[in-house]
Assembly symmetry: C2
Homo-oligomer: 381 residues x 2
């Protein structure tokens, strides 16, 4: 139950093991185009999407390197490790970066952003980077409100949706996101190795004025190749074949059903955890549907919790990252995850907590889980 | 028989289809370190090697972006599409690039290089880029002599070994190559998705003085992660697991045996092709062991040859690239390729040529092939 690599369906693993076909063949182009069209459906966009043979960090760098000139003013909304990474990349490329930072587990509030935006003259702000679902804390930003404020300034909206796309509702075109980044090993149910970047017309316009050198991730090269139903450089053929299989299954389920499932997984998991008397890092209102960060009970160490999960139940839960190491543990529930997995995870959590001496009413997590699930089902019916 | 993606052994495909494990787990680190050590053996080097989740072009860009400052003088030896790509990347990053170019199928001669190097003042030349085996022409540069001339100038030696490493003899440390680049879907017998870059102490010294921004491909980040037996960003876990399986098999065969096999495949294939009266693009002395480029007989079109291979024998041979499109066709013989594959390829070529009306003595290719193979075996015995 880590937040990536996430579980992979057997059909996708089989697709991965097919003998690679030539990346300049018509057969491959057909699969590539089909994956491309489905990726657009998932993000609800008409924008171009490029499939990079690289992890999400590469796509984040691509967003900056294709748009930002040295000296450009960039505002970075930092709610954790990955928000910081976007800011760091912008700084590396010479942008004049201002950060809004909050405590771990908190999201950026629209009021905070509104105040900060007042400090910029009209048209002065080139881009705002933000994270939808912050993997390091399990916190989600209120993107609808934040993005609508950013749009008023005319700045480019650059969003890291690595652990949110295909997990949380996200309408790229309605929101007007200019650069949207995601990765294969999260909601997309395939192993790490690919990332995706969605590029708006406005982002292309920024590219046209951008002097920063970038080759492998260059949008001009990618766009030219896309017109010929291909990639500019040899892509990871096997992963793209597997991606197409995963996307087909996601489209069959329906993207709105996929995100509703993730919301249900999150809410039922949280209900169970709370019933054990454990504290969550993030409030319900700003909880990511992809990952949940949990404080250990007082006197019980995170490494002991992780060890008990692993040794007793052959399950992996993630530690905190950087400053949050050993302060929280994280359970991922994104991608190829069902209600049964949450039930299993909670059952194991009960067993682990019992073993480590945490006091609660036996069966509390499962009772709360079932109640929450029933409410959700009634709601959906 | 295209020059990549190349055939993949069943054991490697099975490894690819294993469920991904956490990239920060001890289990993965062990596999990662084992692959890393074997990659060094293949290149005969003590230098660090970084495994990028990216294709070879990404690793080429990494070589430039980590070492070259705008204005640095770079000499690029261009014998085809991929040599040109190295030069283009250096130009993009603001280097002052001079190119030595030759006709398609020709290699750069040591004399040509010697003359050109005279034009530079002592210590003025920052780096020389060159290609070992040029995929677009099937030509190999005489790297021993060329690199020894470059070393005299003190310039960094940056070599694209994408289709030569694990195909042709290459002793990175003896030659003193500073930046060596290769890719997974060639001699390494796994699908596209990974590339490798070997970095010398001298290249690290250049990195320390390099102001060019680069994040995903940054050597400092990669080196820090390597010290912790990992990668800085989420790697393609499945491909690395598969790579380790392929490398184990290569090390069992022995790298010198692997390159001897490739030389035998090249020489026996060339003998057969010549016996059909077909002209080769490259002379024997500078023929790559990975790929062979062939002129069509007069009056027979390349697309017809490729179509006959595909329709009659379910075999794919590559067209020429860019200016060489429809002027040559290319047969790849690198990676998971045996004598039997060459025999099959030549038999199909005979059948295709017969069908398309090319005149030759029936069985000529196979007779010449068998004679060449026997000579090779006598030689080896």
């Amino acid at each position: 139950m880590i937040p990536g690599p996430t579980p992979v369906p057997e059909s996708v693993l089989h697709a991965l093991a097919k003998h690679p076909i030539g990346h300049r063949s018509k057969e491959f182009s057909k699969i590539f185009c089909s994956a491309n069209e489905k990726l657009k459906k998932i993000a609800k966009t008409k924008n171009d999407v490029f499939i990079y043979t690289a992890s999400g960090t590469g796509a984040m760098e691509a967003g900056i390197a294709n748009t930002i000139n040295p000296g450009d003013k960039v505002l970075s909304l930092v709610i954790g490790v990955f928000g910081q990474r976007f800011a760091d990349i912008a700084k590396l490329y010479g942008a004049d970066v201002t950060e809004i930072k909050v405590n771990p587990g908190e999201a950026i509030s629209p009021d905070q952003l509104k105040e900060k935006l007042k400090e910029y003259k009209e048209g002065e702000l080139k881009a705002v980077t933000l994270t939808h679902s912050e993997t390091s804390t399990g916190t989600a930003n209120p993107i609808d409100k934040l993005i609508s404020l950013i749009k008023e300034t005319g700045a480019l909206v650059m969003m890291d949706a690595v652990t949110s796309l295909a997990c949380m509702p996200l309408d790229c075109d309605e929101l007007g996101i200019d650069v949207l980044v995601s990765g294969s090993q999260k909601g997309f149910m395939i192993p790490p190795g690919l990332s995706f970047i969605y590029v708006s017309e406005k982002a292309y316009a920024a590219k046209a004025e951008c002097k920063t050198p970038t080759y492998y991730f260059c949008w001009n090269q990618a766009k030219k190749a896309l017109a010929n139903d291909t990639t500019p450089w040899t892509p990871n053929v096997n992963h793209i074949v597997a991606l197409e299989v995963a996307l087909t299954s996601m489209c069959e389920e329906g993207i709105d059903n996929v995100t509703a499932r993730h919301a249900r997984l999150r809410d039922t998991l949280r209900a169970g955890i709370k019933a054990l008397g454990l504290k969550l890092l993030t409030e319900d209102e700003t909880a990511s549907a992809a990952i949940t960060a949990i404080y250990p009970p007082e006197g019980i160490a995170v490494p002991d919790i992780r060890a008990a999960f692993k040794n007793d139940w052959n399950m992996i839960v993630a530690n905190g990252q950087k400053d949050l190491k050993d302060k929280i543990f994280r359970m991922g529930h994104l991608g190829f995850v069902t209600d049964r997995d949450i039930l299993t995870g909670l059952s194991a959590l009960e067993a682990v907590m019992t073993k480590l001496g945490h006091k609660f009413e036996a069966g509390a997590a499962l009772a709360a889980y079932q109640k929450a699930l029933k409410e959700k089902e009634l709601c959906a019916a």
